[in-house]
């Protein structure tokens, strides 16, 4: 689920923080910059693991702050393909079941990856697995708040960096920019179409 990513960056320490230990200031700046943020094609950054190398600090003319190139390792949430994860069902909609891990919310299980046959119950707005046994069909509801085990099938990174001023119509471009801002930078596609996957309560022996 979590990987260690080696990165380098130049950290700026303002002069009023010079009395603090350099390592502490740098750790704080790195966490301020990266924690809880998605780095494109890398994953969701959690926290600093360690600092591997500090190069010399420089002060540039015109800026009283020190600039230090830092080599460090960061803990990043980036599940590998086909990994099994356990999450909680946040909501159900026509485009599938939305699962959350608490710290990461953008996981979708599309309708075709649910245990088949499945149908969407409009009245209760939940997906239902129509499980057939010799006794007849059982309707297994995928209620909100239930713990669900799923396999990671696909991941999508979207570059959400600002695109700059658009030239022509101001009003229409504002609308499209707002739509773009709501897109999640990192989404996972899951699947529960195998034996053992789905709600934990479906597979316990009790």
């Amino acid at each position: 689920m979590f990987v260690l990513v080696e990165m380098t960056d130049t950290v700026r320490i303002p002069p009023w923080q010079f009395e603090r230990k350099l390592n502490e200031s740098i750790a704080e700046e790195l966490n301020k910059k990266l924690a809880n943020k998605v780095v494109y094609n890398v994953g969701l950054c959690i926290c600093l693991y360690d600092i591997t190398k500090l190069e010399d600090s420089y002060i540039f003319p015109g800026d009283g702050a020190s600039h230090t190139k830092v080599h460090f390792r960061y803990v990043v949430f980036h599940p590998f393909l086909d990994e099994i994860l356990i999450g909680e069902i946040k909501s159900c909609s026509q485009d599938g079941v939305h699962v959350s891990l608490g710290f990461f919310d953008d996981i979708v299980i599309p309708p075709e990856s649910l245990q088949q046959p499945a149908k969407f119950d409009e009245a209760e707005q939940v997906w239902v697995w129509e499980y057939e046994t010799e006794e007849g069909a059982h309707d297994l509801y995928m209620d909100i708040g239930e713990e669900i085990r799923f396999r990671v099938m696909d991941e999508t990174f979207v570059d959400t960096s600002p695109t700059g001023p658009t030239s022509a119509e101001a009003s229409t471009s504002n609308a499209t920019e707002e739509v773009q801002k709501k897109e999640a930078p990192y989404t996972l596609m899951g699947s529960i179409s195998e034996p053992g996957l789905g709600l934990l309560s479906w597979w316990t022996n009790n």
């Binding site: 979590f2 260690l4 966490n31 809880n36 693991y49 099994i84 996957l197």
Partner: protein, 146 residues
Amino acid sequence: MEVKDANAALLSNFEVFQLLTDLKQQRKESGKSKQSSGQQNLNTIMYETLKYISKTPCRYQSPETVRDFLITMKGHKLTKAEKLQLLNHRPVTAVEIQLMVEESEERLTEEQIESLLQTVTSILPGDPEEQQRESPMATEDKGDQE
């Protein structure tokens, strides 16, 4: 900012759990001298991740159990990713093993799957309450077999 290696190492949930609890301890000890505005993101992600990991079997693990587990796993010929998943999830049924180990029907016989389950449940500590419930039942079963 430059990413040198996006996959330098895999971390188990237990390692991240330890790291976050130590960090939380450090921050508590150093007092609230830091400006909270910049630290809000770190606080949020630490709290949520700790909350999630605390619900998994990792909270009962220790560095020694993880080391023992990996040493015992050497004989089973599993890939790094599969061992990591077994460590993070602590499966108790054969179905879960089949999910985590690729092509388990071809690579492992039923006995091997059973022995794998035994290794996992014996070396990795589970929920202490559940284990207490299970052990009197186990002694009852043994009594029946005799």
